[in-house]
């Protein structure tokens, strides 16, 4: 049974497409994490909770009769301000400190968000229906939910938009300058405080987009944030910091890898195999690094 995927060739196509669509969505979340990690040196444990909050915004729009797809516009706007507020209240106090402190601080924010969402929205699992239907390929043997295709498309649009924004706009250049050398940027007149706030806001806005997409493709629940944090953390680790195209590639790669692990090893090893891959990559990196040092000697 384990090797069903080799007996039914269409499953391979299904697995690759499912993996890619899933991976692109995860890459969007990881993209935000990579950005603020690179700029502010903060690992945001609350990343997944921001995603879920974004999802609830889309869900409530759906509840009030607005199509949840509009959530991809409304949710990031609201989430941007949520991000800026979190920055002003907490993050600006830990931004220059040890990485461990920022992990603790964002861990605290994560718990707070979970409980607040649970309090405000209840502990029920919810979802928003887009009613987008399904695309059938190869005589119905491969099916792709249109909501997933929509999610991937929107993710790509936002990712490309962000890259252009970073390159062309004044704030984007300021953000990149701060990421390269915060002190030098400050001396040259960049208001780093503002840059940090904007970066955190942009990250939260990306989470908002992703959340809205997740509410129409999967399910949301106040306590479901952590897997998204871990997944995006892994994608960033695999891609390396400051490597935005790498984030997209590693997101899609991990998505496909996961699907294949599911078919070949079994569903129970799906997450485990991703972790194993992470360990292998870290060990390999370290090995490569140590080789380099020897060479330099």
């Amino acid at each position: 049974m384990d090797f069903l995927i080799f007996q039914v060739p269409m499953l391979t196509v299904q697995a690759v497409l499912d993996g890619l669509l899933l991976g692109i969505l995860f890459a969007l979340i990881a993209y935000g994490m990579a950005l603020q990690w690179g700029v502010m040196n903060i690992i945001n444990i609350a990343q997944g909770d921001l995603v879920i909050l974004g999802g609830y915004i889309a869900y409530f729009m759906y509840l009030y009769g607005i199509h949840p797809a509009w959530g991809v516009i409304v949710s990031p706007i609201i989430m941007y301000f949520v991000g800026v507020i979190i920055y002003k209240l907490v993050i600006n106090k830990v931004v220059d400190r040890d990485l461990f402190i920022s992990i603790l601080a964002t861990f605290g924010i994560s718990i707070l968000f979970m409980q607040l969402m649970n309090f405000a929205f209840g502990a029920d699992v919810v979802l928003a229906n887009s009613g987008y239907g399904t695309t059938m390929l190869f005589d119905n043997s491969v099916t792709l939910p249109n909501s997933k295709i929509f999610s991937a498309f929107i993710s790509i649009v936002f990712a490309i938009g962000l890259v252009i924004y970073m390159k062309k706009s004044k704030l984007g250049r300021a953000i990149r300058a701060t990421a390269q050398n915060a002190r030098a940027a400050k001396i040259l007149g960049v208001d780093t405080e503002k840059v940090y706030a904007a970066t955190f806001g942009i990250n939260a806005a990306l989470c908002g987009v992703a959340g809205a997409l997740i509410s129409i493709t999967f399910t949301i629940h106040p306590y479901m944030g952590l897997p998204y944090t871990i997944r995006s953390f892994m994608i960033v680790i695999v891609a390396g910091l400051g490597n935005l195209p790498g984030v997209a590639m590693s997101g899609m790669g991990l998505g496909v890898f996961e699907e294949f692990a599911d078919y070949i090893l079994g569903t129970e090893f799906r997450i485990g195999s991703v972790f194993l891959l992470l360990v292998l990559i870290l060990v390999y990196r370290r090995f490569k690094l140590s080789r380099k040092r020897e060479y330099l000697k």
Binding site: L11, L127, T134, I214, F218, T219, P227, T267, I271
Partner: protein, 412 residues
Amino acid sequence: MKIKNIIVTFVSALAILFSTSVVSLAKVVGDKIILGAAISLTGKYSSNGVHTQNGYNMAVDRINEMGGIKVGGKTYKFDIIYYDDESNPKRAAQLAERLISQDGVEFMLGPYSSGLTKAIAPVTEKYGVPMVEANGASRSLFTKGYKYLFAVLAPANLYLDVAIETAVELNGGKGVRIAQAFEQDAFSQDVRLGILDAAERTGSKIIIDDKLPKELNDMAATLAKVKAVKPDVLVVSGHTKGALTAIRQIAEMKVDVPMLAMTHCDAAKLSKQHGKNSQYALCASQWHKTLTYKDDFFKDGMTYAADFEKLFGYDPPYQSAESSAALLVFKDAFERANTFDQKKVRDALADTNMQTFYGNIKFAEGGQNVDKPMVLFQVMCDDAGKCENKVVAPLKWASAELIHPIPKWSER
């Protein structure tokens, strides 16, 4: 000044000591029998925790209104001390300890979920406190030899047993091919064991056996496999999340299976969230309001549901019904024991043999209720898209005929 402080501290310490020692006589105060319960009022189980509490409260009020409990020629009323266990097993165990040793509670009601019941049971067992629980169905609760644990509900391994039996029956008594996907938690894995038993008994074959991760959000891979191998029955159990995810993705991926059986559709409010996409799904349930069991307090399921809705504004899920039943069991046991001696009440509980609006209740050696079968309902929708859950099995309670096989997506 210092001496004054010391005196104040001393006096207040004494006062606290005195007040707790007064409270610790609390098992029966005046005409009140005080029960203790740790319930998930916050945290991830909070919605079901509230259903549980509403069920308890409704039964307490009803029993008290209708004359209370008669023990030793005197009439008593129920009262419950609640604590919020925050959906956390460790906290639940601490609170059970606190209820028993500080508040002096001598009789307990169960928390919500198998996991929390598992955490509390060793504590109540240690102190010899009889506990009637209504929301812990995991089989492992009933194999540990607990003497003071009684569950009014059917154990988890029986949840989807009926579905397999029905499928085999419809297949002319021949075994069927089963695809199953279960979350990796105690409850769902118990349901899985039940299916394995049923498969062996009926000569059925399990062709897909996926274990879903706890952070389950995507079942696409499992469903793609199902599409490829075309089983006769697809069984899914992964709490509310599992039910919602399965229905969404089965509809999106147009997976055709003759029978789809699940757990937790009630809590997931399947038809409300998914509308017609949830049509034809079979759901295991401990109780359904159309069942015709009867008792003196709530009359029958329909009356219970109507009264419950009047009080709380929503249709009662089975979690509430079974919680109400737990109080009826306690009342019955107290009256038969005719004393508040914990041992005698425990023995009376063990001898329980009664009918409630929720079902027949009779405990096996391990404490599980063996006299109440699970029911299966099927989501049925009319042309306007209004969906209802109709009981289809066991046949004795059926209010509608099972629709089998499920029509293909292309024909819907």
